[in-house]
C-alpha cells in the first residue's frame, strides 16, 4: 500500500542551534541572546526532567503507577518550549509534557496522581497557566484556539505591553496531526489570526504507527495551506526549541498570528509502560537517535566550550537525587481519594437527583461497613 509514499525526512533547513556534538550554530533568523549560565539552567531542567521521568518509569514497574507515558528523548523540545513561555502565557499539553509541566512549576507529584489513579487530571490550570493533561488526542488544540480567542477579546494582543500581551502554546503529536480537531484548530487560528503557537512533537511514532502512516510530507508543511507559517526544528536541541518558540510566541503576542513548530525528535522508550516497541520497530533506530541525545550535547557544550566544571554537574546530580526522593516518597504517599468524592465536582452545585444518588451510595457503603 505504501510504495508511492515518500518517507518523512529531516528537512535540510531544520533549525539547529546546537549540534549533537555540542557546537553552537549561529542563525541570523533565530538569534539567541543567552548566557552560558542560562544554558546551564537549561541543562539542569533537562537533567531533572529526565530524572522525574525515570523515577516514574521505575514507580510504574513497582506497581505504584497504573501507567506512565515517558518523555525520554523529548526533553529538549519540551524544556526549550516551556522556558520560552512567559508566566502569563497559557499552555495546553497532551499527556506527555512532563518537561513543560516542570517549567511551569507543576509539582511532579500532581502529574503522578493521574497515572496512579488518585485523580482524573487534578490540577488547577490557573495556578500555573498550564492546562490539565488531555488524553483524547487533539482535543486540547481547540481549547487552545478558544482560549486565544478570549485573549484577543481581552485586548491582550499587540498592545506592546509585555505584561499584557499574551500567547497560547498548544502541544500535539505526530499522530494527532491526523485528527479533525487539530486541523479545525488550524482553521480557527488562521481565520481569526490567533495568538497561538503549535508545537508538534514529531517523535516519529504514534504508538506503533510510524509518522508515514499519517503523512507523506513533513508535518511542518501542514500549516501553510491553512494560511500560517510552519517550520521544523531539531527537537533534540534545547536552544533551537527555545529560540524558535520564543520568536513564535513574540509574533503571536504582537498580533502576527499563529505558527506551527514541528520539533523533530524521537520517542526513545515505549509509547507508555503498557507498550512493547520491539513488536514494531528496530533497535538500531533507537541507537541512531541515542547519538542525538538532547542532554549529552548541552553537557558537551558546557564543559568543552563554556568551562563548566565537575562541581557544577555534581551539584545538579545531587539535586536530582533529592528530587528522586521527593518523587518516590511523594508518590507512595499520595492519598487515595475518599469514596464520597465520587460525586464531587460533577457540577458546581450537586443537583437534587445526584444528591439522592450520593445518599444511596453512602447508605450502601455504611451498610457494607457495618
Amino acid at each position: 500500500m505504501t510504495e508511492h509514499v515518500r518517507a518523512v525526512q529531516p528537512e535540510p533547513d531544520m533549525v539547529q542551534l546546537l549540534t549533537p556534538e555540542g557546537e553552537r550554530v549561529e542563525r541570523a533568523d533565530y538569534p539567541l541572546d543567552i548566557t552560558d549560565e542560562q544554558i546551564g539552567q537549561l541543562y539542569r531542567d533537562l537533567v531533572l526532567v529526565r530524572r522525574i521521568d525515570s523515577e516514574a518509569v521505575a514507580l510504574q514497574r513497582q506497581g505504584e503507577l497504573g501507567l506512565w507515558a515517558s518523555l525520554l528523548g523529548q526533553e529538549a523540545a519540551q524544556v526549550g518550549a516551556g522556558r520560552a513561555l512567559r508566566s502569563h502565557d497559557m499552555c495546553f499539553p497532551t499527556y506527555r509534557e512532563h518537561g513543560v509541566a516542570w517549567c511551569r512549576q507543576v509539582d511532579p507529584l500532581t502529574l503522578l496522581g493521574l497515572f496512579r489513579g488518585t485523580s482524573v487530571g487534578g490540577f488547577d490550570p490557573y495556578t500555573h497557566n498550564f492546562n490539565m493533561y488531555t488524553v483524547i488526542i487533539g482535543a486540547q488544540t481547540l481549547h487552545a484556539a478558544g482560549y486565544a480567542m478570549g485573549v484577543v477579546r481581552d485586548g491582550a494582543v499587540g498592545t506592546g505591553d509585555p505584561d499584557r500581551d499574551t500567547a497560547v502554546l498548544a502541544f500535539f503529536g505526530d499522530g494527532a496531526s491526523s485528527q479533525g480537531d487539530v486541523n479545525e484548530s488550524f482553521v480557527w487560528a488562521a481565520a481569526e489570526n490567533l495568538p497561538i503557537v503549535y508545537v508538534c512533537q514529531n517523535n516519529q511514532w504514534a504508538i506503533s504507527a510510524p509518522v508515514a502512516t499519517q503523512s507523506r510530507v513533513p508535518l511542518y508543511q501542514r500549516s501553510a495551506g491553512f494560511g500560517f507559517p510552519g517550520l521544523r526544528i531539531d527537537g533534540n536541541d534545547v536552544l533551537a526549541s527555545l529560540a524558535v518558540t520564543r520568536r513564535a510566541l513574540d509574533d503571536a503576542r504582537s498580533g502576527q498570528g499563529p505558527t506551527l513548530i514541528e520539533a523533530f525528535t524521537y520517542r526513545m522508550g515505549p509509547h507508555t509502560s503498557s507498550d512493547d516497541p520491539t513488536r514494531y520497530r528496530l533497535g538500531s533506530d533507537v541507537e541512531t537517535w541515542k547519538l542525538r541525545d538532547p542532554i549529552a550535547r548541552v553537557r558537551a557544550y558546557l564543559s568543552r566550550s563554556a568551562g563548566f566544571d565537575a562541581e557544577f554537574f555534581a551539584a545538579i546530580d545531587e539535586e536530582s537525587e533529592q528530587l528522586a526522593v521527593h518523587v518516590r516518597a511523594g508518590c507512595r504517599a499520595l492519598p487515595d481519594p475518599s469514596p464520597e468524592s465520587l460525586f464531587d465536582h460533577v457540577f458546581v452545585e450537586l443537583p437534587e437527583d445526584l444528591r439522592r444518588q450520593r445518599a444511596e451510595f453512602a447508605d450502601f457503603v455504611a451498610s457494607v461497613a457495618s
Binding site: 497559557m90 485523580s119 482524573v120 487530571g121 487534578g122 490540577f123 488547577d124 490550570p125 490557573y126 492546562n131 490539565m132 483524547i136 482535543a139 488544540t141 481547540l142 481549547h143 487552545a144 484556539a145 478558544g146 482560549y147 486565544a148 480567542m149 478570549g150 485573549v151 484577543v152 477579546r153 481581552d154 479533525g180 480537531d181 479545525e184 484548530s185 482553521v187 480557527w188 481565520a191 464531587d344 465536582h345 460533577v346 457540577f347 458546581v348 452545585e349 443537583p351 437534587e352 437527583d353 445526584l354
Partner: protein, 330 residues
Amino acid sequence: MTGLSAVPDGLTTMAKALNAGLRRTLEEDPKVVIMGEDVGKLGGVFRITDGLQKDFGEARVFDTPLAEAGIIGTAVGLAIRGYRPVCEIQFDGFVFPGFDQIVNQVGRMHNRSAGAVKLPITIRIPYGGGIGAIEHHSESPEAYFTHSPGLKVVTCATPSDAYWMIRQAVADDDPVIFFEPKRRYWSKGEVAAQPGPLYRARTVRPGRDLTVLAYGPMVGVALEVAEVAADEGRDLEVIDLRSLAPLDTDAVIESVRRTGHLVIVHEAQRTNGLGAEIAARVQEAAFYSLEAPLLRVTGYDTPYPPSRLEEEWLPNVDRILDAVDRSLAY
C-alpha cells in the same frame, strides 16, 4: 439596572422571547459571547440571534468557521479564559460532529480540574420535527446528553419559559444543553414577570385520572389531548418536564401516586429515549400506586422519515389518546 432591556410585553413568539432573553444576557454580563454558524449578520437560520451582532459587535456575536467540533472546542477554551459562551448548533442533526467535545470535554472539565475550572457554556439546539424538513433537520437527540455525566439538559415549551430559561441557562455556571422546539418558534404567548426554578418540572394542567408527561414540542400536543379527553369525561393531568437533566421526577411521581396512570410522550426514538428513564424511575418510586404499566408514545425506532411521512412517525393526538385509552382500560 438601567440600560437593561425589559421582559417582553404582550404576546410574544418563542423566537422573539429567546432573542430577548439572549439580548438580556449580553447586556448583563460582558463575558457572554454568542457563536455559531450564521449567528451574525443573518441572525441565525431561525433569526434567534437577529440584531445581536449589530448591537453588541463582532467580538461578542460572531460567525464561526463551519465545524461543530471547532465551535464546541473553542467554546471550552473561551470558558477557560473566563468567557460565558452560548453556542448555536444550527440543527439537531449537526450536533454529532461536536459530540466528542461535548461528552468528553464539556461534561468533564469541571470534574477533572477538581472544581478549578468552570465551564458556563450553553449549547442551543433547535430540535424536533414537524416542519417538513429534509433529513438530519428533525432529530431529537436529547437522550444522548441526559446519559452523559456533567451536562444539564433543558427544553422549553412556551415563550415565557423560552425567555426565562435561556437567561437562567446562560447564567448557570455548569454547561447546559438547551433544546429549542423549532416547530414552536412561531407560537405565541405572554412572558411571565418572574421566572420559575430552572430545574423543575411544572404541572401545566391538573387532573385526576391519568398523568401525561411531555416536554418541548410535545407539551402543546399533550394539552390538546387533555382537551379532547375532557370531552370524553376524562380528567388528565399534564406535566411539562422542562429539565431533562437533572431529571425532576418529584412532580411526576407525586402525580402518578394520585392518578395511577402515566403516559410519557416524546418525539425521539423510543428505545433508550428519555421515556425509558422516566418509566424506570417512576415504577421504582410509585410501584404500589400503579394501576397500569407506564406507557410511552414516541417516535419509532427508525431513522426520521421523509417529511411526507413525518406526521405518521411523530406522536400525535390520536396516538396519545390511544395510549390513554389503553392505560385506563388496563
